[in-house]
Amino acid sequence: MASSAVAPTSSFLVDKKDVGFSAVCTQPSFPCSAQLSKRRVSRKIVSVMAPQQSERKPSTTGAVKTGMTMTEKILARASEKSQLVPGENAWVNVDILMTHDVCGPGSIGIFKKEFGQNAKVWDREKVVIIPDHYIFTTDERANRNVDILRDFCNEQNIKYFYDIKDLGNFKANPDYKGVCHVALAQEGHCRPGEVLLGTDSHTCTAGAFGQFATGIGNTDAGFVLGTGKLLLKVPPTLRFVMDGEMPDYLLAKDLILQIIGEISVAGATYKAMEFVGSTVESLTMEERMTLCNMVVEAGGKNGVVPADSTTYKYLEDKTSLPFEPVFSDGGARFLQEYRFDISKLEPLVAKPHSPDNRALARECKDVKIDRVYIGSCTGGKTEDFMAAAKVFLASGKKVKVPTFLVPATQKVWMDVYSLPVPGSGGKTCSQIFEEAGCDTPASPSCGACLGGPRDTYARMNEPQVCVSTTNRNFPGRMGHKEGQIYLASPYTAAASALTGFVTDPREFLQ
């Protein structure tokens, strides 16, 4: 009954050839997955640990249900089916649809064309509209796009519209939040077991809450606006088991860079990425969000982290809607399983111009840089800024290059200015940043992560070298086509700012 996508022959390879990769797999007894011999050519994994699976009960008839992964289960429940297998297409009920200023107007246009100028959205409480991409700019079209969102929200009486009108002072806008993926989490729209779709590739961030979350285009969004459903194909799941105590110089960004470097930018195409293991369980919600955020950079359809007490605690004061978490069955079948001993990993970067161009930060110490950018849904959350502050505090010195800080949301901005940084004697992140000579934290938005209109703060308008906590570094990503972007964790970004070169944060943290 299982489709070819999960046939045993394609799943678990037991060749335990240990291909030591750089300094990580020094001890053959530690399971580690093999490095791809050549990033571009081969996506085959040479050595993968066979997963521990609980014994499945033998089936007496062909009608016995197979165990499902949590992604399969979420989609099955959302499509009111008792069983789904990878490869099947199902009409899935959507719990939340998110859109922003870049894709919202187009989606609205399609919605009206297809359902009629007077059509109403399927549920005014399930559409969350979050302007965040091109906000603090004089670009007229960008400003107009926010107006289009407002008109639609007024007309449809959309419950959740995080509006902004006063572009000169973000604090004067009580409803405005900022970066959509962080806002969705902070405003309690992410709930375990649900289906969340958004017109943005990093919608997969919400998978950190144990839900199915993925990015879609305008046309699909227009369809969802009218029907509350979408035809989705069930992806097979790749399982990433991360065990070991997280060293104090590593962050979730390093973990996901490790994985993307492992499987390549197309290694998870059309697949779900499930993150489990003791390390994952030790991660905070924001760190889990960072992990799931870059699933799309591996081509992944969605990422998931099983919900647990950390999740429920985070949600306590954020949502009053009931939810029912979903977990992978013991007998669930995974396409492949990768195991990592996190205690062996080192801080990483993704070198220009691909998120899978993985390298050890310490091996790039001769790379002179021109600027550092700390921000975005990937690396602009409260904990990301606390992490950067920790490095600046440990150093006590000033940055050697312009260091741009863009809090993702109003809440993050507030935290940067109010939360005390441990070990600092009561200083806030903002004070530490000021003492280190960083730029003043900017108005919360997506900022220069994707370049944007020419007057976007921190946009790269010259061919420079930048270390960034963002998610993509393809040519021209932050503006200039010849710009060189090194993706890194907030620790690594802060360390690099202090030296003016790509720098392993252990220079300051140990």
């Binding site: 996508a5 187009g106 399609i110 064309k113 079209r141 943005d200 046309t219 035809l231 944007g452 990503r477």
Partner: protein
């Protein structure tokens, strides 16, 4: 077309493309409602696609609903991992694709993000349309953002079809959703076989690509799951056929 027989399958269908490295589509739709504001909604999609695609082709409309049987023209060759920022840099995303004027402007910026190492420009300076009807790509074409502006820009610029070794999923899904470009998969690396400026013909019915400049022929992968939804005329038409949403005139 091979996919024509699949029209009668119920909405939930299993993938039959047999391609493990699958860009087989979850669902696809054609709603290129952006192109000509004067065309009435009920007939916009197919007319427009046909008028753009049937250039030198003499094939008469087949039993396929949209009648497109072949593509013909010059090809533009790109490499692997052409991401959406290269296809349409983010600064142009203020253009709203469902607005006809802005749709055309998007087209004029298609592939403007490619590095300078690409000698031939996709669109000549001062022009708004491309002379290349077919884009040949490598692996993971369209990776990166979910922006629908990417396939829209290509389609608006005049591209009829893309033939890539593999696609990123959101881009592929959006391509069929918008109907802007026909996303085909090659067997092997056509990007190594073709050169920008080669004259190509793609015969959809035979899943074949002919390079007239080199004289070689290549097999293409059948459109697979994309077929039934394209045949139906897009996800909206497909859903109407399946009774999921009421017909527009109801």
């Amino acid at each position: 077309m091979a996919a024509a027989a699949a029209i009668s399958t119920p909405p939930t269908f299993n993938l039959s493309s047999g391609n493990p490295n699958s860009s087989s589509l979850p669902h696809l739709k054609l709603t290129s409602c952006n192109v000509n504001p004067s065309i009435s909604y009920s007939q916009s999609l197919k007319l427009d696609r046909n008028s753009r695609f049937l250039t030198a082709a003499t094939a008469s409309p087949s039993s396929a609903v949209n009648g497109t049987n072949s593509f013909h023209g010059l090809c533009y060759v790109v490499g692997d991992n052409i991401d959406t920022d290269q296809i349409i840099p983010a600064e142009y995303l203020t253009l709203v694709p469902s607005n006809p004027d802005e749709y055309e402007k998007l087209g004029s910026y298609a592939l403007i993000g490619l590095p300078a190492s690409y000698g031939a420009r996709f669109i000549e300076p001062g022009a708004t349309k491309t002379k290349y009807a077919i884009v040949i790509g490598g692996d993971n074409f369209g990776c990166g953002s979910s922006r629908e502006h990417a396939p829209v820009a290509l389609g608006a610029s005049g591209v009829a079809a893309v033939v890539a070794e593999s696609y990123a999923r959101i881009f592929f899904r959006n391509s069929v959703a918008t109907g802007e470009i026909y996303p085909l998969e090659s067997e092997g690396r056509l990007c190594d076989e073709c050169t920008t400026g080669d004259v190509l013909t793609i015969e959809l019915g035979e899943s074949k690509l002919i390079n007239h400049t080199t004289g070689k022929e290549y097999k293409l992968k059948p459109i697979g799951d994309a077929g039934p939804v394209i045949e139906a005329g897009g996800i909206f038409a497909y859903a109407r056929k399946a009774g999921m949403i009421p017909s527009r005139d109801a």
